[in-house]
């Protein structure tokens, strides 16, 4: 990712994206921060907990899951966003940020 930071994120599953049936593709530049694998991600824990409340059970036994808690933080700087209303990808998307 450091060698080739061009990435994309697709939000297309209403169960996870919570944006209805719409589909959104974000293309951008990834900035990977691996300077502190053990603690660098902790400032984002509240967001993670909101999405997956049971994460606290793993956190309580942090020593048992050493591999699980080593995390690289990746921030994506959006360059182009494509959006398909109602998730209808048979039609051309709206494009933002070209």
């Amino acid at each position: 990712m450091k060698q080739n930071p061009k990435v994309s994120l697709l939000f297309s599953n209403p169960e996870g994206s919570k944006v209805g049936k719409h589909a959104v593709l974000v293309q951008g530049i990834a900035h990977a921060d691996d300077s502190d694998l053990d603690h660098g991600w902790e400032k984002y824990l509240s967001y993670w907990r909101k999405k997956e409340p049971y994460i606290d059970a793993y956190l309580a036994e942090r020593e048992k899951f050493g591999w699980f808690w080593k995390r690289i933080v990746v921030q994506v700087e959006p360059k182009k966003i494509l959006a398909w209303k109602n998730g209808d990808t048979s039609k051309s998307p709206e494009v933002f940020g070209v």
């Binding site: 450091k2 060698q3 080739n4 061009k6 990435v7 994309s8 697709l10 297309s12 599953n13 169960e15 996870g16 589909a23 593709l25 293309q27 909101k50 999405k51 997956e52 409340p53 049971y54 994460i55 899951f65 591999w67 699980f68 360059k79 182009k80 494509l82 398909w84 998730g87 990808t89 048979s90 039609k91 051309s92 998307p93």
Partner: protein, 132 residues
């Protein structure tokens, strides 16, 4: 190719096609699919990318169920590499290689333990390329 379980594949509701665009960015788009009696995988052709004939792509089939208290269950995916072919407006997908996970078959912690050597191997190769 690694064996593809078409019965389990048929339990997914949609597919995500991903390929690298001309601008170098990955381009992903969700679409419907169906499995024909002869096991051909037919994808509904998306408006973009406009040209998919002969393209090397990966197709992700995935599923999650939101849990009432937050988080997700019934997590599963099949990530299939292969080639797309267009013929008379029909887009077919020729699978070549598959990796997958289904938490009902392999619980998350066991999945992590099983794939740890694969991860270590990948990181080892990555480290070598970084140092080169």
């Amino acid at each position: 190719m690694t064996s593809l379980d078409y019965h389990r594949l048929g339990n997914f509701r949609y597919a995500i096609i991903t390929l690298v665009g001309d601008d170098g960015f990955p381009f992903s788009v969700s679409t419907d699919f169906k499995i024909m009696p002869d096991k051909k995988i037919v994808l509904q052709k998306p408006a973009q990318p406009s040209k998919l004939d002969g393209k090397r792509v990966n197709v992700l089939f995935n599923h999650i169920t939101g849990l009432p208290g937050g988080g997700y269950g019934d997590r599963r995916y099949m990530l299939v590499w292969g080639t797309t072919h267009e013929h008379h407006g029909t887009l077919t997908f020729e699978p070549e290689k598959v990796s997958e996970w289904d938490e009902k078959i392999l619980p998350f912690d066991q999945y992590c333990a099983k794939t740890a050597p694969q991860g270590a191997k990948y990181l080892g190769k990555l480290q070598a390329s970084v140092e080169a």
